[in-house]
Protein backbone atom coordinates (compact mmCIF):
# COMPACT_ATOMS: atom_id res chain seq x y z
CA UNK A 1 0.00 0.00 0.00
CA UNK A 2 1.33 3.40 -1.03
CA UNK A 3 0.37 6.50 0.93
CA UNK A 4 1.22 9.87 -0.56
CA UNK A 5 0.79 12.84 1.79
CA UNK A 6 1.00 16.43 0.60
CA UNK A 7 3.78 15.59 -1.79
CA UNK A 8 5.08 18.75 -3.39
CA UNK A 9 7.82 19.61 -5.87
CA UNK A 10 8.83 23.16 -6.64
CA UNK A 11 11.52 23.93 -9.22
CA UNK A 12 13.32 27.23 -8.92
CA UNK A 13 15.33 28.12 -11.99
CA UNK A 14 16.65 31.66 -11.71
CA UNK A 15 13.61 33.92 -11.82
CA UNK A 16 10.96 31.28 -12.44
CA UNK A 17 9.32 29.23 -9.77
CA UNK A 18 7.45 26.24 -11.15
CA UNK A 19 5.26 24.06 -8.97
CA UNK A 20 5.42 20.76 -10.76
CA UNK A 21 3.41 18.93 -8.10
CA UNK A 22 1.22 20.67 -5.56
CA UNK A 23 0.35 18.91 -2.30
CA UNK A 24 -0.60 15.60 -3.87
CA UNK A 25 -2.43 13.35 -1.44
CA UNK A 26 -3.65 9.91 -2.46
CA UNK A 27 -3.57 6.26 -1.50
CA UNK A 28 -2.95 3.24 -3.66
CA UNK A 29 -4.42 0.14 -2.00
CA UNK A 30 -2.40 -3.05 -2.03
CA UNK A 31 -2.61 -5.13 -5.16
CA UNK A 32 -4.17 -2.37 -7.27
CA UNK A 33 -3.04 -0.53 -10.35
CA UNK A 34 -3.37 3.22 -10.08
CA UNK A 35 -2.93 5.07 -13.36
CA UNK A 36 -1.66 8.65 -13.18
CA UNK A 37 -3.19 10.38 -16.14
CA UNK A 38 -3.05 13.82 -17.61
CA UNK A 39 -1.68 16.06 -20.36
CA UNK A 40 2.01 16.90 -20.77
CA UNK A 41 3.50 18.79 -17.87
CA UNK A 42 0.68 18.01 -15.47
CA UNK A 43 2.93 16.55 -12.77
CA UNK A 44 2.12 12.88 -13.13
CA UNK A 45 5.68 11.81 -13.94
CA UNK A 46 7.14 14.12 -11.30
CA UNK A 47 4.85 12.57 -8.70
CA UNK A 48 5.81 9.06 -9.77
CA UNK A 49 9.51 9.87 -9.60
CA UNK A 50 9.15 11.31 -6.11
CA UNK A 51 8.04 7.90 -4.88
CA UNK A 52 11.43 6.38 -5.64
CA UNK A 53 13.18 9.71 -5.14
CA UNK A 54 14.62 10.03 -8.60
CA UNK A 55 13.16 13.48 -8.04
CA UNK A 56 13.64 14.78 -4.50
CA UNK A 57 10.41 16.10 -2.99
CA UNK A 58 10.35 19.69 -1.76
CA UNK A 59 7.93 18.70 1.00
CA UNK A 60 5.47 16.00 1.92
CA UNK A 61 6.09 12.33 2.35
CA UNK A 62 5.52 8.91 0.88
CA UNK A 63 4.78 5.86 3.01
CA UNK A 64 5.17 2.41 1.57
CA UNK A 65 3.48 -0.23 3.73
CA UNK A 66 3.51 2.22 6.58
CA UNK A 67 7.21 3.08 6.40
CA UNK A 68 8.21 6.66 5.71
CA UNK A 69 10.49 6.57 2.68
CA UNK A 70 12.25 9.82 3.57
CA UNK A 71 13.91 7.98 6.45
CA UNK A 72 15.18 5.18 4.24
CA UNK A 73 18.45 5.06 2.36
CA UNK A 74 17.68 5.89 -1.28
CA UNK A 75 19.53 2.96 -2.79
CA UNK A 76 17.80 0.41 -0.53
CA UNK A 77 14.45 2.06 -1.26
CA UNK A 78 14.94 1.78 -4.99
CA UNK A 79 16.02 -1.85 -4.82
CA UNK A 80 12.68 -2.59 -3.23
CA UNK A 81 10.71 -0.89 -5.98
CA UNK A 82 10.35 -2.22 -9.49
CA UNK A 83 10.98 0.57 -12.01
CA UNK A 84 10.02 0.43 -15.68
CA UNK A 85 10.65 3.34 -18.03
CA UNK A 86 9.40 4.26 -21.47
CA UNK A 87 12.73 3.91 -23.23
CA UNK A 88 13.07 0.48 -21.64
CA UNK A 89 16.72 0.94 -20.67
CA UNK A 90 18.04 -2.60 -20.91
CA UNK A 91 21.81 -2.56 -20.47
CA UNK A 92 23.23 -3.34 -23.92
CA UNK A 93 26.48 -4.76 -22.60
CA UNK A 94 24.70 -7.45 -20.57
CA UNK A 95 22.88 -10.58 -21.64
CA UNK A 96 19.16 -10.90 -20.95
CA UNK A 97 20.03 -13.16 -18.03
CA UNK A 98 22.41 -10.57 -16.59
CA UNK A 99 19.88 -7.79 -17.13
CA UNK A 100 17.13 -9.66 -15.32
CA UNK A 101 19.41 -10.76 -12.49
CA UNK A 102 20.88 -7.35 -11.81
CA UNK A 103 18.81 -6.34 -8.76
CA UNK A 104 18.91 -9.78 -7.11
CA UNK A 105 22.68 -9.73 -7.57
CA UNK A 106 22.91 -6.26 -6.04
CA UNK A 107 20.97 -7.35 -2.98
CA UNK A 108 23.06 -10.47 -2.56
CA UNK A 109 21.08 -13.44 -3.87
CA UNK A 110 23.06 -16.59 -4.57
CA UNK A 111 23.82 -17.50 -8.17
CA UNK A 112 21.56 -20.54 -8.46
CA UNK A 113 18.69 -18.58 -6.91
CA UNK A 114 18.83 -15.67 -9.30
CA UNK A 115 19.39 -17.86 -12.34
CA UNK A 116 16.35 -19.91 -11.44
CA UNK A 117 14.34 -16.72 -10.97
CA UNK A 118 15.40 -15.43 -14.39
CA UNK A 119 14.16 -18.61 -16.11
CA UNK A 120 10.93 -18.52 -14.12
CA UNK A 121 10.21 -14.96 -15.13
CA UNK A 122 10.92 -15.58 -18.80
CA UNK A 123 8.46 -18.43 -18.78
CA UNK A 124 5.84 -16.19 -17.21
CA UNK A 125 5.97 -13.99 -20.29
CA UNK A 126 6.08 -16.94 -22.68
CA UNK A 127 9.70 -16.43 -23.76
CA UNK A 128 11.74 -19.64 -23.86
CA UNK A 129 14.66 -19.35 -21.42
CA UNK A 130 16.80 -21.69 -23.49
CA UNK A 131 16.63 -19.23 -26.36
CA UNK A 132 16.55 -15.88 -24.61
CA UNK A 133 18.77 -16.05 -21.54
CA UNK A 134 22.00 -15.75 -23.48
CA UNK A 135 20.83 -13.22 -26.04
CA UNK A 136 21.64 -9.54 -25.98
CA UNK A 137 19.08 -6.72 -25.97
CA UNK A 138 19.99 -5.59 -29.45
CA UNK A 139 18.91 -8.99 -30.78
CA UNK A 140 15.36 -8.63 -29.47
CA UNK A 141 12.37 -6.84 -30.95
CA UNK A 142 10.90 -3.79 -29.21
CA UNK A 143 8.03 -5.77 -27.74
CA UNK A 144 10.37 -8.45 -26.42
CA UNK A 145 12.66 -5.83 -24.91
CA UNK A 146 9.78 -4.21 -23.13
CA UNK A 147 8.70 -7.54 -21.65
CA UNK A 148 12.24 -8.03 -20.37
CA UNK A 149 12.10 -4.52 -18.92
CA UNK A 150 8.98 -5.48 -16.99
CA UNK A 151 10.34 -8.77 -15.66
CA UNK A 152 13.64 -7.11 -14.73
CA UNK A 153 11.57 -4.90 -12.46
CA UNK A 154 9.88 -7.97 -10.98
CA UNK A 155 13.06 -9.98 -10.46
CA UNK A 156 13.63 -9.20 -6.78
CA UNK A 157 9.89 -9.58 -6.13
CA UNK A 158 9.32 -6.02 -4.92
CA UNK A 159 5.93 -5.21 -3.40
CA UNK A 160 5.63 -1.99 -5.36
CA UNK A 161 6.15 -1.13 -9.02
CA UNK A 162 6.48 2.24 -10.70
CA UNK A 163 5.91 2.35 -14.43
CA UNK A 164 6.49 5.48 -16.52
CA UNK A 165 4.61 5.13 -19.82
CA UNK A 166 6.10 1.65 -20.13
CA UNK A 167 4.29 0.69 -23.30
CA UNK A 168 4.61 4.05 -25.03
CA UNK A 169 7.50 3.06 -27.26
CA UNK A 170 5.75 0.02 -28.73
CA UNK A 171 3.60 -0.06 -31.85
CA UNK A 172 -0.19 -0.03 -31.21
CA UNK A 173 -0.77 -3.64 -32.18
CA UNK A 174 1.88 -5.07 -29.90
CA UNK A 175 0.93 -2.60 -27.22
CA UNK A 176 -2.54 -4.16 -26.87
CA UNK A 177 -1.02 -7.61 -26.61
CA UNK A 178 1.51 -6.55 -23.99
CA UNK A 179 -1.17 -4.70 -21.99
CA UNK A 180 -3.30 -7.86 -21.92
CA UNK A 181 -0.34 -9.99 -20.92
CA UNK A 182 0.56 -7.56 -18.20
CA UNK A 183 -2.97 -7.60 -16.78
CA UNK A 184 -2.83 -11.40 -16.75
CA UNK A 185 0.50 -11.27 -14.92
CA UNK A 186 -0.86 -8.77 -12.44
CA UNK A 187 -3.83 -11.01 -11.64
CA UNK A 188 -1.26 -13.61 -10.62
CA UNK A 189 1.24 -11.39 -8.81
CA UNK A 190 -1.01 -8.71 -7.32
CA UNK A 191 1.67 -6.01 -7.09
CA UNK A 192 0.84 -2.49 -5.95
CA UNK A 193 1.46 -0.43 -9.08
CA UNK A 194 1.60 3.23 -10.02
CA UNK A 195 1.47 3.64 -13.76
CA UNK A 196 1.87 6.92 -15.66
CA UNK A 197 0.01 7.28 -18.94
CA UNK A 198 -1.27 10.05 -21.18
CA UNK A 199 -3.72 7.74 -22.95
CA UNK A 200 -7.26 7.64 -21.53
CA UNK A 201 -8.01 4.33 -23.26
CA UNK A 202 -4.97 2.68 -21.75
CA UNK A 203 -5.95 4.05 -18.35
CA UNK A 204 -9.52 2.79 -18.60
CA UNK A 205 -8.23 -0.62 -19.61
CA UNK A 206 -5.47 -1.05 -17.05
CA UNK A 207 -6.53 0.86 -13.95
CA UNK A 208 -8.30 -0.13 -10.77
CA UNK A 209 -8.30 3.59 -10.11
CA UNK A 210 -7.36 6.62 -12.19
CA UNK A 211 -5.79 9.81 -10.84
CA UNK A 212 -6.22 12.76 -13.18
CA UNK A 213 -3.63 15.50 -12.91
CA UNK A 214 -3.66 19.02 -14.24
CA UNK A 215 -0.95 21.66 -13.86
CA UNK A 216 0.50 19.96 -10.80
CA UNK A 217 -2.76 19.25 -8.99
CA UNK A 218 -4.68 16.04 -8.48
CA UNK A 219 -8.09 16.82 -9.94
CA UNK A 220 -10.02 13.57 -9.62
CA UNK A 221 -9.20 10.13 -8.25
CA UNK A 222 -11.81 7.49 -9.00
CA UNK A 223 -12.46 4.10 -10.53
CA UNK A 224 -12.62 4.22 -14.34
CA UNK A 225 -16.37 3.77 -14.41
CA UNK A 226 -16.95 6.51 -11.84
CA UNK A 227 -14.58 8.82 -13.66
CA UNK A 228 -16.34 8.25 -16.97
CA UNK A 229 -19.85 8.55 -15.57
CA UNK A 230 -19.17 11.42 -13.17
CA UNK A 231 -16.37 13.64 -14.42
CA UNK A 232 -15.86 16.41 -11.84
CA UNK A 233 -15.41 19.39 -14.09
CA UNK A 234 -15.10 20.53 -17.67
CA UNK A 235 -11.40 19.76 -17.81
CA UNK A 236 -11.94 16.13 -16.84
CA UNK A 237 -14.93 15.88 -19.17
CA UNK A 238 -12.79 17.15 -22.01
CA UNK A 239 -9.92 14.87 -21.12
CA UNK A 240 -11.94 11.67 -20.96
CA UNK A 241 -13.47 12.54 -24.28
CA UNK A 242 -16.97 13.19 -25.58
CA UNK A 243 -17.37 9.49 -26.29
CA UNK A 244 -17.12 8.58 -22.63
CA UNK A 245 -20.34 6.56 -22.68
CA UNK A 246 -18.78 4.34 -25.33
CA UNK A 247 -15.63 4.08 -23.27
CA UNK A 248 -17.68 2.87 -20.34
CA UNK A 249 -19.06 0.09 -22.48
CA UNK A 250 -15.74 -1.68 -22.47
CA UNK A 251 -15.86 -1.93 -18.70
CA UNK A 252 -19.07 -3.97 -18.63
CA UNK A 253 -19.44 -7.58 -19.73
CA UNK A 254 -22.44 -9.23 -21.33
CA UNK A 255 -23.00 -11.21 -18.14
CA UNK A 256 -24.00 -7.97 -16.35
CA UNK A 257 -26.80 -6.99 -18.74
CA UNK A 258 -27.92 -10.41 -19.89
CA UNK A 259 -31.63 -11.23 -20.02
CA UNK A 260 -31.55 -14.82 -18.90
CA UNK A 261 -35.25 -15.58 -19.12
CA UNK A 262 -35.74 -16.42 -22.72
CA UNK A 263 -38.59 -18.09 -24.55
CA UNK A 264 -37.63 -20.03 -27.65
CA UNK A 265 -39.16 -22.03 -30.41
CA UNK A 266 -37.89 -25.26 -31.91
CA UNK A 267 -37.84 -26.59 -35.43
CA UNK A 268 -41.06 -28.56 -35.12
CA UNK A 269 -43.08 -25.73 -33.60
CA UNK A 270 -45.65 -24.20 -35.90
CA UNK A 271 -45.69 -20.52 -36.81
CA UNK A 272 -48.93 -20.00 -34.88
CA UNK A 273 -47.29 -21.48 -31.79
CA UNK A 274 -44.42 -19.08 -32.38
CA UNK A 275 -46.84 -16.14 -32.35
CA UNK A 276 -48.42 -17.35 -29.13
CA UNK A 277 -45.01 -17.65 -27.50
CA UNK A 278 -43.97 -14.22 -28.71
CA UNK A 279 -47.09 -12.63 -27.24
CA UNK A 280 -46.67 -14.52 -24.02
CA UNK A 281 -43.09 -13.34 -23.55
CA UNK A 282 -43.77 -9.84 -24.79
CA UNK A 283 -41.39 -10.04 -27.75
CA UNK A 284 -42.39 -7.37 -30.23
CA UNK A 285 -40.51 -8.49 -33.29
CA UNK A 286 -38.93 -11.93 -33.20
CA UNK A 287 -38.26 -15.12 -31.29
CA UNK A 288 -35.11 -17.22 -31.21
CA UNK A 289 -35.10 -20.64 -32.84
CA UNK A 290 -32.96 -23.33 -31.21
CA UNK A 291 -32.05 -26.93 -31.95
CA UNK A 292 -32.48 -29.89 -29.58
CA UNK A 293 -29.38 -28.98 -27.67
CA UNK A 294 -30.67 -25.45 -27.16
CA UNK A 295 -28.19 -23.97 -29.58
CA UNK A 296 -29.51 -20.93 -31.46
CA UNK A 297 -29.76 -21.42 -35.21
CA UNK A 298 -31.90 -18.50 -36.25
CA UNK A 299 -34.95 -16.41 -35.47
CA UNK A 300 -38.59 -16.21 -36.57
CA UNK A 301 -40.00 -12.75 -37.10
CA UNK A 302 -43.51 -11.73 -36.14
CA UNK A 303 -44.28 -10.45 -39.62
CA UNK A 304 -43.30 -13.77 -41.24
CA UNK A 305 -45.26 -15.77 -38.66
CA UNK A 306 -48.37 -13.66 -39.22
CA UNK A 307 -48.21 -13.90 -43.00
CA UNK A 308 -47.55 -17.62 -43.34
CA UNK A 309 -48.56 -21.10 -42.25
CA UNK A 310 -46.40 -24.10 -41.42
CA UNK A 311 -43.39 -24.98 -39.30
CA UNK A 312 -40.68 -22.73 -38.02
CA UNK A 313 -38.10 -24.90 -39.70
CA UNK A 314 -39.22 -23.54 -43.06
CA UNK A 315 -39.66 -19.88 -42.16
CA UNK A 316 -36.72 -18.70 -40.11
CA UNK A 317 -34.02 -16.14 -40.79
CA UNK A 318 -30.37 -16.93 -40.15
CA UNK A 319 -28.67 -15.63 -37.07
CA UNK A 320 -26.75 -12.43 -37.76
CA UNK A 321 -24.27 -12.79 -34.94
CA UNK A 322 -23.85 -14.07 -31.41
CA UNK A 323 -22.08 -12.73 -28.35
CA UNK A 324 -20.36 -14.51 -25.47
CA UNK A 325 -20.73 -14.04 -21.73
CA UNK A 326 -17.25 -12.60 -21.41
CA UNK A 327 -17.51 -10.12 -24.29
CA UNK A 328 -17.55 -6.49 -23.26
CA UNK A 329 -20.39 -4.24 -24.32
CA UNK A 330 -18.22 -2.28 -26.70
CA UNK A 331 -17.75 -5.43 -28.76
CA UNK A 332 -21.49 -6.09 -28.51
CA UNK A 333 -22.39 -2.57 -29.65
CA UNK A 334 -19.99 -2.92 -32.52
CA UNK A 335 -21.59 -6.18 -33.62
CA UNK A 336 -25.03 -4.65 -33.33
CA UNK A 337 -24.03 -1.83 -35.62
CA UNK A 338 -22.32 -4.13 -38.06
CA UNK A 339 -25.29 -6.45 -38.37
CA UNK A 340 -28.01 -3.88 -37.95
CA UNK A 341 -29.44 -5.72 -34.96
CA UNK A 342 -31.17 -4.30 -31.91
CA UNK A 343 -30.63 -7.52 -30.01
CA UNK A 344 -28.22 -10.45 -30.09
CA UNK A 345 -28.34 -13.92 -28.55
CA UNK A 346 -25.65 -14.89 -26.07
CA UNK A 347 -24.03 -18.31 -26.04
CA UNK A 348 -21.53 -20.02 -23.77
CA UNK A 349 -18.35 -21.78 -24.87
CA UNK A 350 -20.32 -24.83 -26.05
CA UNK A 351 -22.57 -22.70 -28.18
CA UNK A 352 -25.61 -23.20 -25.95
CA UNK A 353 -28.02 -20.32 -25.50
CA UNK A 354 -27.57 -18.38 -22.25
CA UNK A 355 -29.84 -15.46 -22.96
CA UNK A 356 -29.88 -12.33 -25.05
CA UNK A 357 -28.73 -8.71 -24.97
CA UNK A 358 -30.70 -5.74 -26.23
CA UNK A 359 -29.69 -2.18 -27.04
CA UNK A 360 -32.24 -0.97 -24.57
CA UNK A 361 -30.77 -3.19 -21.88
CA UNK A 362 -27.36 -1.63 -22.48
CA UNK A 363 -28.59 1.95 -22.28
CA UNK A 364 -30.58 1.12 -19.16
CA UNK A 365 -27.45 -0.22 -17.50
CA UNK A 366 -25.41 2.85 -18.40
CA UNK A 367 -28.18 5.12 -17.25
CA UNK A 368 -28.59 3.35 -13.91
CA UNK A 369 -25.55 5.04 -12.37
CA UNK A 370 -26.74 8.46 -13.45
CA UNK A 371 -29.98 7.89 -11.63
CA UNK A 372 -28.11 6.78 -8.52
CA UNK A 373 -26.50 10.24 -8.16
CA UNK A 374 -29.82 12.06 -8.23
Amino acid sequence: MINIENLTKVFETGQDVVTAADHITMQVPEGEICVLLGPSGCGKTTTLKMVNRIVTPTSGRVLINGEDTTQQDTVTLRRNIGYVIQQIGLFPNMTIEENISIVPKLIGWGKSRYLKRASELLEMVAMDPAIFLKRYPNELSGGQQQRIGVIRALAADPPVMLMDEPFGAIDPINREVIQDEFLKLQRLLKKTIMFVSHDIDEAVKMASRIAIFREGRLVQYDTPDDLLSHPKNDFVKGFVGTDRALKRLQLVTVAEVLETEVTVVQMNDSLSQALVKMDGAGYERAIILVDDARRPIGYVTRSVAQANQGNCSKHYSNLRSVVRLEDNLRTVASKMFTHDATWLPCVNSEGILEGFVTQRGITRHLGATYKAVQ
Partner: protein, 216 residues
Protein backbone atom coordinates in the same frame (compact mmCIF):
# COMPACT_ATOMS: atom_id res chain seq x y z
CA UNK B 1 69.52 -3.62 -52.83
CA UNK B 2 72.02 -2.16 -50.46
CA UNK B 3 69.22 -1.61 -48.07
CA UNK B 4 68.28 -5.27 -48.09
CA UNK B 5 71.87 -6.28 -47.52
CA UNK B 6 72.07 -3.81 -44.71
CA UNK B 7 68.94 -5.22 -43.10
CA UNK B 8 70.13 -8.81 -43.49
CA UNK B 9 73.50 -8.15 -41.95
CA UNK B 10 72.14 -6.13 -39.05
CA UNK B 11 69.15 -8.15 -37.91
CA UNK B 12 70.19 -8.41 -34.25
CA UNK B 13 70.65 -4.64 -34.05
CA UNK B 14 67.30 -4.01 -35.72
CA UNK B 15 65.58 -6.43 -33.41
CA UNK B 16 67.10 -4.82 -30.33
CA UNK B 17 66.19 -1.30 -31.41
CA UNK B 18 62.66 -2.35 -32.30
CA UNK B 19 62.16 -3.98 -28.94
CA UNK B 20 63.56 -0.91 -27.17
CA UNK B 21 61.17 1.27 -29.14
CA UNK B 22 58.19 -0.91 -28.37
CA UNK B 23 59.09 -1.10 -24.68
CA UNK B 24 59.38 2.69 -24.42
CA UNK B 25 55.98 3.27 -26.04
CA UNK B 26 54.21 0.49 -24.15
CA UNK B 27 55.44 1.70 -20.78
CA UNK B 28 54.62 5.31 -21.54
CA UNK B 29 51.16 4.73 -22.96
CA UNK B 30 50.42 2.11 -20.31
CA UNK B 31 51.17 4.65 -17.58
CA UNK B 32 49.14 7.22 -19.49
CA UNK B 33 46.11 4.92 -19.34
CA UNK B 34 46.56 4.45 -15.62
CA UNK B 35 46.41 8.21 -15.15
CA UNK B 36 44.20 9.22 -18.06
CA UNK B 37 41.24 6.87 -17.66
CA UNK B 38 40.62 7.69 -13.97
CA UNK B 39 41.00 11.40 -14.72
CA UNK B 40 38.54 11.05 -17.60
CA UNK B 41 36.05 9.33 -15.30
CA UNK B 42 36.56 11.89 -12.53
CA UNK B 43 35.96 14.93 -14.70
CA UNK B 44 32.55 13.65 -15.81
CA UNK B 45 31.35 14.76 -12.38
CA UNK B 46 32.12 18.44 -12.89
CA UNK B 47 31.85 20.33 -16.15
CA UNK B 48 34.02 23.30 -15.11
CA UNK B 49 36.92 21.09 -14.09
CA UNK B 50 36.45 19.01 -17.22
CA UNK B 51 36.84 22.09 -19.38
CA UNK B 52 40.04 23.13 -17.60
CA UNK B 53 41.61 19.67 -17.67
CA UNK B 54 40.87 19.12 -21.36
CA UNK B 55 42.20 22.57 -22.17
CA UNK B 56 45.49 21.88 -20.40
CA UNK B 57 45.84 18.50 -22.09
CA UNK B 58 45.27 19.99 -25.52
CA UNK B 59 47.87 22.69 -24.90
CA UNK B 60 50.42 20.07 -23.87
CA UNK B 61 49.94 18.21 -27.11
CA UNK B 62 50.78 21.29 -29.16
CA UNK B 63 54.27 21.56 -27.66
CA UNK B 64 56.71 20.20 -30.26
CA UNK B 65 58.35 17.06 -28.94
CA UNK B 66 61.91 18.25 -29.36
CA UNK B 67 61.04 21.36 -27.37
CA UNK B 68 59.47 19.27 -24.62
CA UNK B 69 62.55 17.10 -24.38
CA UNK B 70 64.63 20.24 -24.23
CA UNK B 71 62.56 21.65 -21.37
CA UNK B 72 62.86 18.46 -19.40
CA UNK B 73 66.66 18.25 -19.49
CA UNK B 74 67.33 20.90 -16.83
CA UNK B 75 64.28 19.87 -14.80
CA UNK B 76 65.08 16.19 -14.66
CA UNK B 77 68.86 16.48 -14.30
CA UNK B 78 68.18 17.41 -10.70
CA UNK B 79 67.36 13.75 -10.15
CA UNK B 80 70.01 12.61 -12.54
CA UNK B 81 67.66 11.66 -15.40
CA UNK B 82 67.87 14.67 -17.71
CA UNK B 83 68.47 12.46 -20.69
CA UNK B 84 67.72 8.88 -21.55
CA UNK B 85 64.49 6.93 -21.26
CA UNK B 86 62.91 8.83 -18.32
CA UNK B 87 62.27 12.13 -20.12
CA UNK B 88 61.17 10.17 -23.20
CA UNK B 89 58.59 8.20 -21.23
CA UNK B 90 57.37 11.29 -19.40
CA UNK B 91 56.96 13.26 -22.61
CA UNK B 92 54.99 10.47 -24.31
CA UNK B 93 52.88 10.07 -21.19
CA UNK B 94 51.99 13.74 -21.33
CA UNK B 95 51.17 13.60 -25.03
CA UNK B 96 48.92 10.61 -24.53
CA UNK B 97 46.76 12.31 -21.94
CA UNK B 98 44.58 14.26 -24.34
CA UNK B 99 43.30 11.40 -26.51
CA UNK B 100 42.79 9.12 -23.53
CA UNK B 101 41.17 11.62 -21.17
CA UNK B 102 39.01 13.14 -23.86
CA UNK B 103 37.79 9.81 -25.20
CA UNK B 104 37.04 8.50 -21.73
CA UNK B 105 35.15 11.67 -20.78
CA UNK B 106 33.17 11.78 -24.03
CA UNK B 107 32.31 8.10 -23.98
CA UNK B 108 30.98 8.16 -20.46
CA UNK B 109 29.01 11.33 -21.05
CA UNK B 110 27.50 9.82 -24.16
CA UNK B 111 25.97 6.89 -22.33
CA UNK B 112 22.29 7.44 -22.94
CA UNK B 113 20.34 9.25 -20.21
CA UNK B 114 17.75 6.48 -20.31
CA UNK B 115 20.36 3.91 -19.30
CA UNK B 116 21.60 6.20 -16.56
CA UNK B 117 18.08 6.65 -15.25
CA UNK B 118 17.36 2.94 -15.44
CA UNK B 119 20.55 2.23 -13.48
CA UNK B 120 19.68 4.81 -10.82
CA UNK B 121 16.08 3.77 -10.63
CA UNK B 122 16.71 0.09 -10.05
CA UNK B 123 19.04 0.90 -7.17
CA UNK B 124 22.66 1.06 -8.35
CA UNK B 125 25.06 3.34 -6.50
CA UNK B 126 27.07 5.72 -8.73
CA UNK B 127 30.09 3.45 -8.44
CA UNK B 128 28.11 0.40 -9.45
CA UNK B 129 26.67 2.31 -12.37
CA UNK B 130 30.17 3.24 -13.54
CA UNK B 131 31.51 -0.24 -13.08
CA UNK B 132 28.61 -2.24 -14.48
CA UNK B 133 27.25 0.03 -17.18
CA UNK B 134 29.10 3.21 -18.07
CA UNK B 135 32.68 1.96 -18.26
CA UNK B 136 31.93 -1.30 -20.14
CA UNK B 137 29.96 0.73 -22.66
CA UNK B 138 32.84 3.20 -23.00
CA UNK B 139 35.58 0.65 -23.59
CA UNK B 140 35.47 0.77 -27.42
CA UNK B 141 35.91 4.53 -27.48
CA UNK B 142 38.58 4.53 -24.80
CA UNK B 143 40.50 1.89 -26.77
CA UNK B 144 40.23 4.10 -29.84
CA UNK B 145 41.90 6.87 -27.82
CA UNK B 146 44.67 4.49 -26.75
CA UNK B 147 45.22 3.50 -30.35
CA UNK B 148 45.56 7.15 -31.37
CA UNK B 149 48.05 7.69 -28.56
CA UNK B 150 50.15 4.66 -29.50
CA UNK B 151 50.36 5.39 -33.20
CA UNK B 152 51.19 9.06 -32.65
CA UNK B 153 53.81 8.32 -30.03
CA UNK B 154 55.62 5.67 -32.03
CA UNK B 155 56.60 8.63 -34.17
CA UNK B 156 57.44 10.88 -31.19
CA UNK B 157 59.64 8.18 -29.73
CA UNK B 158 61.77 8.23 -32.85
CA UNK B 159 62.81 11.77 -31.92
CA UNK B 160 63.68 10.62 -28.41
CA UNK B 161 66.77 9.00 -29.88
CA UNK B 162 68.28 12.51 -29.84
CA UNK B 163 68.21 12.56 -26.06
CA UNK B 164 69.66 9.11 -25.73
CA UNK B 165 66.51 7.10 -25.21
CA UNK B 166 67.36 4.53 -27.84
CA UNK B 167 64.84 2.89 -30.16
CA UNK B 168 64.54 2.95 -33.94
CA UNK B 169 65.17 6.69 -34.00
CA UNK B 170 68.82 5.81 -33.46
CA UNK B 171 69.03 4.55 -37.04
CA UNK B 172 67.50 7.74 -38.35
CA UNK B 173 69.76 10.04 -36.34
CA UNK B 174 72.86 8.08 -37.27
CA UNK B 175 71.78 8.02 -40.90
CA UNK B 176 71.62 11.79 -40.84
CA UNK B 177 74.88 12.44 -38.97
CA UNK B 178 76.83 9.80 -40.92
CA UNK B 179 75.16 10.66 -44.24
CA UNK B 180 74.22 6.99 -44.56
CA UNK B 181 71.02 6.66 -46.62
CA UNK B 182 70.67 2.95 -45.75
CA UNK B 183 70.30 3.48 -42.03
CA UNK B 184 68.07 6.46 -42.63
CA UNK B 185 65.65 4.63 -44.91
CA UNK B 186 65.61 1.46 -42.84
CA UNK B 187 64.92 3.47 -39.70
CA UNK B 188 62.14 5.47 -41.30
CA UNK B 189 60.43 2.45 -42.81
CA UNK B 190 60.77 0.46 -39.61
CA UNK B 191 59.08 3.18 -37.56
CA UNK B 192 56.24 3.44 -40.08
CA UNK B 193 55.75 -0.31 -40.25
CA UNK B 194 55.73 -0.51 -36.49
CA UNK B 195 52.99 2.12 -36.32
CA UNK B 196 50.87 0.29 -38.90
CA UNK B 197 51.23 -3.08 -37.22
CA UNK B 198 50.54 -1.62 -33.77
CA UNK B 199 47.37 0.02 -35.05
CA UNK B 200 46.17 -3.27 -36.53
CA UNK B 201 46.88 -5.24 -33.37
CA UNK B 202 45.21 -2.68 -31.16
CA UNK B 203 42.17 -2.63 -33.45
CA UNK B 204 41.88 -6.37 -32.97
CA UNK B 205 42.20 -5.89 -29.23
CA UNK B 206 39.56 -3.17 -29.32
CA UNK B 207 37.15 -5.54 -31.02
CA UNK B 208 37.84 -8.25 -28.46
CA UNK B 209 37.25 -5.90 -25.55
CA UNK B 210 34.00 -4.53 -26.96
CA UNK B 211 31.14 -6.08 -24.99
CA UNK B 212 29.29 -8.65 -27.05
CA UNK B 213 26.05 -6.75 -26.79
CA UNK B 214 27.56 -3.82 -28.67
CA UNK B 215 29.04 -5.66 -31.64
CA UNK B 216 26.98 -4.67 -34.62
Amino acid sequence: MEIITYVMSNLPLLAQLTLEHIALVVVAVGLACLTGVPIGIAITQNEQIARVVLYIASIVITIPSIALFGIMIPILSVIGHGIGYVPAVIAVLLYSQLPIIRNTYTAINNVSPALREAARGIGMTSTQRLRLVEVPLSVPIIMAGVRTAVVMNIGVMAIAAYIGAGGLGVLISRGISQSDPRQLIVGAIAVSLLAIVADGLLLALQKRLTPAGLQS
